[in-house]
Symmetry: C2
Subunit: 324 residues, 2 copies
């Protein structure tokens, strides 16, 4: 598949999605103070970012409201308390996890909601359930995406079948998600080509959500972009689970479209992100994340290693070997 | 130019060069204690690394011995105090900077030295002087490379002329050096292709030395490798000036040749690198380095920003704009 655009060209199909709260919420159980969220909302508007994801629409039957901040649930009133009627160019997104959402009850019709887009997160074996949620939200009037996680574990034949099903659905975009930060740029280019083949056949956009276990989240994002992916996830200072995500400041430094502006992102980071680190929140590249990425394993053991303040990397390597 | 190898293949032309002391010495003025150097030497041997660069052969007339550790000068006795006669598979390299070395005096004939390779660092406008040094060292019996720094600022026509001159010389390898961490993977692939065109014509190997200003040092290294580059620079935990280098632990995680072993590198990091950070040594990706990288500027202003413990990134951005 040919390259799309080059370093001098502007691609008007690009959609930058700020996933700071949603992926960052996995680090602090969604306990952000309102000032952080308001500043982020304003920074995203000023930076020309296309979507801001506020968090998850998690089921309150499954998750105790006392154990999570409000962005785990994203009640309409919670979002409106920040954005009012959101009379801006910035669109608002939430994520629904297959098996963790009461979507039939918890989504209003789009005409009554400030939410613009629902992204459905799924593993490859629950694609039918994901499509059911996406179709439900599509009928309510929302833009929808399906984000297939942990794709580094999937078989190519399963992927093709999945892409056919998604192609025939009403979703707007299909996301390539490297949950474990396991994939190298050449693999990302190949996978993006496969996704784009179906995307072009069925008129779907392709998205990329990368993790930074091997310091490749930004590289993999711009490589997928170069192949033709157009929905690009990033987070402020890479805030996100484990090794974190594609850093927004790197992505906006790269994009040529003058609608994007890095300065509000820099201001947001200096005011709000440094404080999180000082308060003890931990995320970002470190050896333990490289190792789970390299072993193509979920980062949970590396997160536990980090919380225990361990630095015995060689011993951790042996522990991972034993899990193979 | 076609891709060389894939994720399942072993390329026997690969040479991994540990530049930890040499590039890391730019962070601490080469004041490493001997235990650090001994542990590094042992780790490199055990990890199957091909070359260890001990530092610079800087002229003692130009640089005050009292202001730098011994690896700024790399006297034969200093190296021998670590390696003895170096009866190992690991080869030893030093770097000579054009205009900063008294090469005619300071290099012994190879037969009297434990040094195997001399790498000459140069800007593109001093290529003739670099070739003179390399030819001198070649005649003395050393392997040689010429490393052209700050290539992101060079014109393509100048590059071609430079590559012709180097092609006609006796150097073993020609290095692509992204000193400012300014280049994106697609630019690295194009530059690597250009270097390789001349490399194949003249029988020279091509090397890559990347900096991590935009979290692309590892990505750019493996992309250059994929195009056919074979000399790969990396440092332990990316220790090096400013944003640091390609992390050795990521590179060894990637390489398929079973001769490479990541575990001694992990042990070295847990024993020796964490301590350096605790002692206050600062290097690695941060916003200020992203910004100098993006502006294609020398990292000196970002290093000063770091030392001053500033975090006003937006103001720093404006300062860099004024330098454009």
């Amino acid at each position: 598949m040919g390259k799309k655009g080059n370093l001098m060209s502007v691609r008007h199909d690009i959609r930058v999605v700020d996933a700071t709260i949603r992926d960052g919420g996995l680090v602090n159980n969604f306990y952000f103070d309102d000032e952080f969220i308001r500043d982020l909302y304003k920074a995203n508007i000023d930076a020309g970012i296309d979507y801001m994801e506020f968090g998850y629409k998690a089921s309150k039957e499954l998750f105790d409201e006392k154990k999570f901040g409000k962005w785990k649930f994203c009640d309409e009133e919670a979002i409106r308390s920040i954005v009012g009627d959101n009379d801006t160019e910035l669109k608002i997104s939430v994520m629904a996890d297959v098996g963790r959402t009461n979507y039939k009850r918890d989504f209003l019709p789009k005409s009554e909601s400030v939410i613009d887009m629902v992204r459905v997160a799924t593993y490859i074996n629950t694609i039918p359930a994901a499509i059911e949620i996406a179709e439900h939200c599509h009928k309510l009037g929302y833009e929808t995406t399906v984000n297939i996680m942990a794709i580094s574990n999937a078989k190519e034949s399963d992927m093709k079948q999945m892409l056919e099903l998604l192609g025939e659905s009403n979703v707007n975009a299909i996301y390539l998600v490297d949950s474990y930060g396991a994939l190298y740029p050449e693999q990302i280019r190949e996978l993006a080509d496969l996704y784009l083949e179906y995307g072009e056949k069925y008129g779907k956009s392709i998205g990329i959500h990368a993790h930074n276990n091997q310091q490749l989240a930004f590289a993999n994002t711009i490589e997928a972009l170069g192949q033709g992916a157009s929905y690009l996830d990033a987070t402020m200072s890479s805030l996100g689970r484990g090794a974190g995500n594609c850093p927004m400041e790197l992505l906006l430094g790269f994009l040529q479209n003058p609608k994007y502006n890095i300065v509000p992102v820099l201001r947001f980071i200096e005011k709000n992100i440094i404080k999180l680190r000082e308060e003890g929140l931990m995320w970002g590249y470190d050896i333990q994340y490289l190792l789970t990425g390299r072993f193509n394993q979920h980062p949970s053991s590396a997160i536990a290693f980090t919380k225990a303040k361990r630095t015995d990397y060689a011993a951790f390597y042996s522990e991972l070997l034993d899990k193979e």
